[in-house]
């Protein structure tokens, strides 16, 4: 039972344009959401997070939007750069601090020149 889903396995975007990565979840107990970037043979690198009490969080080129009613979140990267090419994982956790993460299946982002 995949509780966190990333329906687009891959996404290709031109340099300088916006990249939008989507994530859907089914568990209404999830209250903290994170995006990680991952290169092959490396560990996931934390990008940005959002608590369920917010609907938007921004950090530099990265913005995460949360729509609780739709159980949907998205990561916007503006402007996209070639170095952003990687696999992006959406992750979610439930309950109070420090709980296990449930990951989505990942989206391979390719930013082309």
């Amino acid at each position: 039972d995949q509780q966190v889903k990333q329906n687009s396995p891959s996404l290709s975007v031109q340099e300088g344009r916006i990249s939008i990565l989507n994530c859907d979840y089914t568990n209404s107990m999830f209250d903290y959401f994170l995006w990680y970037k991952k290169y092959p043979a490396e560990g996931p690198t934390f990008l940005i997070s959002i608590s369920s009490i917010k609907d938007k969080n921004e950090d530099g080129r990265f913005t995460v939007f949360l729509n609780k009613s739709a159980k949907h979140l998205s990561l916007h990267i503006v402007p996209s750069q070639p170095g952003d090419s990687a696999v992006y994982f959406c992750a979610a956790s439930a309950g109070g601090g420090g709980n296990k993460l449930t990951f989505g299946t990942g989206t391979q982002l390719k930013v082309e020149l």
Partner: protein
């Protein structure tokens, strides 16, 4: 800034052998998590520790055990290895569960285990 350290980075074992993976969390982090990522799959939670006590347990086989030591490093012990145990094993650390608010988990580079 100091990151999560995992050792070894690569490990090759035969079936039915044992393996021990080590994880050194970011300084002052007292919570450690272990995840397993199979080929083409997303990371799956195995087990976590907070202040040297097991705090949560996921899909960890009975052949695996783990503990967190007084210096907060953690070890994942894997026995009777099977071919299907071949995967990337990630350790992550965060600040503790106190306060009831979410703390970000930071991941190590992983240990790639190959069972032949």
């Amino acid at each position: 800034a100091a990151g999560v350290i995992q050792s070894p980075r690569h490990l090759i074992k035969e079936k039915r052998e044992t393996a021990t993976l080590k994880c050194y969390p970011i300084p002052r982090h007292d919570t450690v998590y272990w995840y397993q990522q199979g080929p083409g799959q997303d990371p799956q939670f195995l087990i976590s520790f907070y202040e040297k006590m097991q705090s949560d347990k996921g899909s960890i086989p009975d052949r695996f055990s783990a503990q967190q030591f007084s210096d907060y490093h953690s070890e994942l012990n894997m026995s009777s290895l099977e071919l299907g145990d071949s995967a990337l094993y990630f350790c992550a650390s965060s600040l503790g569960l106190a306060g009831g608010y979410q703390e970000t988990q930071y991941f190590g580079p992983g240990t790639r285990l190959l069972v032949l």
